[in-house]
């Protein structure tokens, strides 16, 4: 597998993307969760990504929104970013953890270099406190430029994209 620097992974997360295969209007219920997907392409057309959106039916606070990168030169995909609900403990959670936390998994170059899953380990976030807020945050961080076409309810706060230092570090 190609070796990625942290900067390259961060750039893949934050590069401007167009939604080329949009999500369904409504999430579909399937085997215990509500699901939606979409595909995105980097603006220069050479980078391919997919996004999954999942909400558990029994525990709607257990959700995950993830960005997968599909490198053209090799098989498989790399999970670059996942915004999760407070579904349980995770490596990286505060110890002792008195309650479950919203958290974000972000691809790390040292994980890949060690043969681990890129997104292993999470970081607690207070950037969002619901699925909708997480989706809003996620779309902003991954720079889904035409997101407002498909997520009209989230339109207003999405643009313009702020260039905050460490935007993906939350």
């Amino acid at each position: 597998m190609k070796e990625y620097t942290q900067q390259e992974l961060d750039d893949l997360i934050s590069c401007e993307k167009d939604i080329c295969d949009p999500p369904k209007k409504d999430m579909r219920k399937e085997r215990g969760s509500r699901r939606n997907n979409m595909r995105l392409r980097g603006r220069d057309g050479s980078l391919e990504f997919s996004v999954f959106m999942r909400i558990n039916e029994d525990f709607p606070e257990d959700f995950s929104i993830g960005l997968e990168y599909h490198p053209q030169e090799e098989r498989g995909s790399i999970c670059l970013l996942r915004c999760n609900g407070p579904h349980g403990d995770f490596l990286g959670s505060p110890i002792p953890s008195s309650h479950f936390h919203y958290h974000i998994h972000k691809a790390k170059s040292q994980n890949l270099a060690s043969g681990l899953r890129a997104e292993r380990g999470g970081e607690v976030t207070d950037t969002y406190a619901s699925y909708d807020q997480a989706l809003h945050h996620f779309l902003r961080v991954i720079h889904a430029v035409n997101a407002e076409e498909y997520f009209p309810g989230l339109q207003a706060p999405l643009l313009p994209f702020p260039e905050k230092e460490g935007e993906t570090q939350s």
């Binding site: 215990g32 969760s33 699901r35 999954f52 029994d58 257990d62 995950s64 098989r75 498989g76 998994h105």
Partner: protein, 249 residues
């Protein structure tokens, strides 16, 4: 001692419980997925028995990278369930056990969850690499008597034009290409045309992983350039011997 205290003791006090809903406890145990998230295990007491459940989290997580959308994937999934005595209701996996048997039951449940999660390795894009290994197996099994030579460059000065297997069959050798995707289809097409332009005497055979998977233009180009195509590995496995026998007759 109730079953929760018993379980804590059996886990050497390395676990905890959190109430997620009335009557539904989440087990906090050092059992993790590869991404570092804790395995989702819930406990409910029903009619004196304990239901160990995932409340749909296993299949939800699997669906990040793999959908159970083919009979083959579903068959493997069901086999993992049955071999671990796990039941499924609308995507929710569960195992019922007596309170005194909960410790081994939880370990078994967690093991099954791990196996199901590893089904992501069956992603087509991951296992595609097996195509060339399977092609090599079929050639070894069925065509060994034609002395296949792998990785041959028929034009010495062109190391970019490679034939996957050469069979020294008279009157014309067979150049065989395995094709699993459009980029290999284009390379095989170019190679055949260059070999023809160099006036080499040969017959070109192509084995596709899935001919229908290629785009229309790629199908047209390779069909025009190649002498014989097998539309799938199964087609090759079933018919290669008789086709080669006819060529050698």
């Amino acid at each position: 001692m109730n079953y929760l205290e018993l379980l804590k003791e059996q886990f050497n006090h390395q676990i905890d419980f959190r109430e997620r809903r009335p009557g539904i406890l989440q087990l906090i145990a050092p059992l993790y997925y590869e991404d570092g998230d804790m395995v989702d295990i819930f406990l409910e007491q029903t009619n004196g028995r304990i239901r160990i459940s995932d409340h749909g989290m296993t299949l939800m997580r699997l669906s990040y990278s793999l959908e159970l959308d083919t009979p083959n994937k579903e068959r493997i999934f069901q086999k993992i369930l049955s071999e671990n005595r796990i039941q499924e209701e609308n995507g929710k996996l569960f195992l019922e056990t007596d309170p005194e048997r909960i410790y081994p039951a939880i370990l078994q449940f967690a093991q099954a969850v791990g196996k199901i999660s590893n089904m992501q390795l069956y992603k087509r894009e991951v296992i595609q690499s097996l195509f060339y290994e399977l092609l090599a197996e079929v050639i070894e099994e069925k065509l060994k008597r034609y002395h296949p030579r792998p990785s041959v460059f028929p034009i010495a000065e062109r190391d970019d034009l490679e034939v996957d297997y050469l069979f020294e069959i008279k009157p014309r050798p067979i150049y065989l290409f395995g094709i699993k995707d459009s980029s290999k289809a284009r390379l095989a097409t170019i190679s055949c045309l260059e070999f023809q332009r160099a006036k080499l005497l040969f017959k070109s055979f192509v084995v596709h992983e899935d001919f229908e998977d290629l785009g229309r233009k790629d199908r047209s180009r390779i069909t025009s350039a190649a002498d014989k195509q097998f539309i799938s590995l199964e087609d090759f496995r079933a018919n290669a011997e008789q086709v080669f026998d006819r060529e050698a007759a």
